[in-house]
Symmetry: C2
Subunit: 358 residues, 2 copies
């Protein structure tokens, strides 16, 4: 028996009604039936991103849409500022560098949120910057960044604000338009509760203007190709049909609960997890903890990898740390289809296991 | 009731046992359980591609892997020869052009196969060509190209032979190593019987050598990233887990039948369809018809779009023509999970519908 309660920050458990919906006979994508699903999903995604902007859907991992946000807005030799406070901030910088973009990093201590004053200062010193890249939730440190305050600063510059909301969307508070975000990059296997394979880019007017000037080479991830197809309620390339069908049901579940109610529930679940961790004597790693995922420090002297392994042998999958945090933290996701009952059970198992390994 | 018999050249019907397998609770990709599936699939894919080369798997539409085959082998300003005999040959040229590759097209009449002598001549005149791009089955015209003969020519040059086998793989005869193909590009939603969302690139030693020199920018589709991860039985980015799980079952079904037996069955089904078309008085469009899909000319005076629409209203989905062939041909796929019984039924409905529309 290898049934696992999956509490990893992506993929998250897929509710059974979504699994069943995706298991129905496949339909063709150039049909009115699919077009209806596609257009419904596109409209609903706007509500989840809290935007009036067009949301483009790619068949790819989230990283594909991160790359798309670089290559569609920038040109070779452009300057971009990247906030690096974990693995996914680093990824934005690596993508920029791969395309010959002059990258100005703002390196912050892992587990902390960037100081808006520092961001303002760097923007002032780099008035030629065309974009600022950051995460909403830096998944590797389970830290939420203050996108709102940074949006207030970036809006007054020439730069566009690009935010990776892959792990935060649907769990951490996010308001694309109100916070003046220009490109928001999402993924399917986190708060949206479906398997990995779809990625999203919501694109503002300011960002589209930059797209018109962008000369970085692109084809599959060309925003313009997807936008042009979207005008005919179509896609430029064969889409991941079953995932889109699953997404329609996932979104209808979120809408039934209410987008804001769902965010509030995630906050409450996150607070519950943080409180329980304190009771267990575990320190929350992040100084600005996300409502999508909680990272806690592994007790001194305990082997973090063994802890994750032992938990798994008991049917509960947590994520360990990545990069320099390997073996030092465990991460407990409370996003998407993960509910309070799952968390209660998992924390019971964690408590028991911590005792055993002491 | 909108149940459709789907006879389109992708997506093809997903066998119910694969649907059910993919509907099981999702697992995490950084686990021994997933790694086993991934490594089994990778080994089996080699048998289907008939190669000893590494096969890389991307989460994307087939076009993503087509783009990958360009950007990983070439450098800016390189010369590439592209055989253009339909929509997907054109796509290779468009991708090359998007990346500043000097593109030498070999334009052939749609529905015909390229003449190896012409190919040899063009290669002779373009000794600096780094790659030749072609299709196995040009899906838009349902034409199979003589990859074997062209492989015999290209192997003696500096150029690599890149073949889009997206719609042909598993249906048309294809032997990567024997035919000296350097990059073969596949997709999931055709002969491999699973939904769209996975794409493949099998890469030869000659192509890897070119990859070492390639300076076109890339990140998500970097062959090297996937190869490096593969050495640890891993993937660089979160993969489309459920599709990979479905693929494992699909491949086990193909292996149970036997890869060669399956190809032979497709040939037999294709011959059956072509024979029946003749009986119905319909001309096969292609002069080198594929065993994956058959295109037939719509009878003179009949509206091809109406024909497809009427067939659909009766529960049988055929594809129409694309580009300049719109309304002029219909395409009947006999790939993947489509069996003789499906074809018999569909051709019965076609016969009846042709009478009605006369």
């Amino acid at each position: 028996m290898d049934k696992q309660l999956l509490l990893t920050p992506g993929p998250t458990p897929v509710p059974v009604e979504i699994q069943n919906e995706m298991a129905k006979p496949i339909i063709h994508h150039r049909t009115p039936q699919y077009q209806k699903i596609f257009s419904d999903v596109n409209e609903s995604l706007k509500k989840i991103f809290k935007t009036q902007n067009t949301v483009l859907t790619f068949t790819s991992s989230g990283t594909g849409a991160m790359e798309a946000s670089v290559i569609n807005t920038l040109s070779k030799g452009d300057t971009a500022i990247v906030i690096r406070g974990g693995k996914f901030g680093e990824r934005f910088a690596e993508i920029c560098q791969a395309y010959g973009v002059n990258t100005v990093p703002i390196d912050i201590e892992w587990g902390t949120s960037p100081d808006p004053k520092v961001v303002k200062d760097v923007l002032n010193k780099n008035k030629n910057a065309k974009a600022l890249f950051m995460n909403l939730c830096e998944t590797s440190t389970a830290t939420v960044y203050d996108v709102k305050s940074i949006g207030e600063i970036v809006k007054n510059t020439e730069a566009v604000l690009v935010v990776d909301v892959i792990s935060g969307l649907g769990s951490d508070d996010f308001r694309m338009d109100e916070w003046r975000v220009d490109v928001a990059v999402g993924g399917s296997q986190k708060g949206l509760m479906i398997p990995p394979g779809l990625a999203f880019s919501a694109v503002s007017k300011k960002a589209w203007d930059l797209c018109d000037k962008s000369n970085l080479p692109k084809f599959y991830f060309s925003f313009k190709k997807y936008k042009k197809s979207l005008e005919e309620n179509d896609v430029p390339f064969t889409p991941a049909i079953t995932l889109e069908i699953g997404l329609k049901m996932a979104i209808s579940m979120i809408e039934k609960e209410g987008v804001d109610a769902s965010i509030a529930r995630h906050r409450s679940d996150a607070e519950y997890v943080r409180k329980e961790m304190k009771k267990l004597g575990l320190d929350v790693y992040s100084k600005a903890p996300s409502d999508a995922v909680t990272a806690v420090k592994v007790p001194q002297g305990m082997d973090g990898s063994l802890l994750v392994k032992t938990l798994k042998s008991k049917g509960v999958t947590f994520a360990g740390g990545q990069g320099s945090l390997k073996g030092k933290i465990i991460r407990i996701a409370h996003m998407g289809g993960i509910n309070r009952k799952d968390l209660e059970y998992a924390l019971e198992v964690l408590k028991e296991t911590l005792k055993e390994l002491k």
